[in-house]
Amino acid sequence: MAPPLRIDPDERALVFAAQQGDRDAFGGLVRIHQKRMYAVARAIVLVHEDAEDAVQEAFVRAFQALDRFNPEQAFGAWLNRIVANAALDIARRRKVRTTDELHDTVADRFTDPGESDELRQRLTDALQELPDRMRSVIVLHDVQGFAHAEIGEMLGIPEGTARSDLHHARQRLRKRLENLRGT
């Protein structure tokens, strides 16, 4: 589940120090937020390597825009929007890949590449067939645990659209997996 995006006093102090040019303070912010940012990026791009690139790019963009961040706002939510944009940029660039290439890279996830069962393979294929935004919404919601409003903000769509995308994505996955054992 995504951690709540409250404003922590220690984090606010780190943000303030980072805004004054303290790179160690920014390193502290990287440590706090990198896992959640990876989760956001991973929901949008198809492969682990692209998610990592998106996280790095997002931190660079955040560092360069730090003077524009209002410390009274939730730093995590601000970062989520930045990493979502970075991931969407990468996803757009990856559109030039062929379907076969994508199929190979989706199956090549980070953990335990030896694991392979029918459900996972069928689900991987089904997720890949979803439109990009639908896939991002269902992964962000059902896998990463973000709320509709957060997803809408990250992807730049209305909350109602995020709900609708989730509904249609679930319908498509159900249909695609309906003959599978155990589902």
Partner: protein, 126 residues
């Protein structure tokens, strides 16, 4: 409470499989490495240049002190100048006007009868 279809979640095995597919790396060393990569990239970029209001805010403390000192000096100078003006005006009121300054030059008032007679005669003779 009855679950409406709109919110009907996927079956648990599907969710579990999806979480496996999208699992983040669990090894702490991976995150330490990623942090190091981020910080290495940051060392090659510069933070956004300070904007004008930030520059001004940085000057605020020194600016306030300098402005206060400048105001104090200007105030003292103005007060001093004002006092001098007042003294000058006061002195001017009290000082009697010099008689010679209002006097007509003595040459103009001299009743030189010979000169006037000669002039009169010269005019009449023409």
């Amino acid at each position: 409470m009855e679950q409406i279809p709109f919110d009907n979640p996927l079956p648990q095995p599907v969710l579990d499989a999806a979480r496996t597919i999208y699992a983040a790396p669990a090894d702490p060393s991976y995150w330490a490495t990623l942090e190091a990569k981020v910080m290495a990239r940051l060392s090659t970029v510069s933070a956004a240049p300070a904007r004008w209001w930030q520059v001004l805010s940085g000057w605020t403390q020194g600016g306030i002190v300098a402005a206060t000192v400048a105001l104090a000096i200007a105030g003292a100078l103005l007060l001093h100048a004002h006092r001098e003006d007042m003294q000058t005006a006061y002195d001017a009121i009290l000082r009697p006007a010099p008689a010679e300054s209002l006097a007509v030059p003595s040459g103009l008032l001299s009743d030189d009868g010979d000169t006037r007679g000669e002039t009169f005669r010269d005019v009449i003779s023409r």
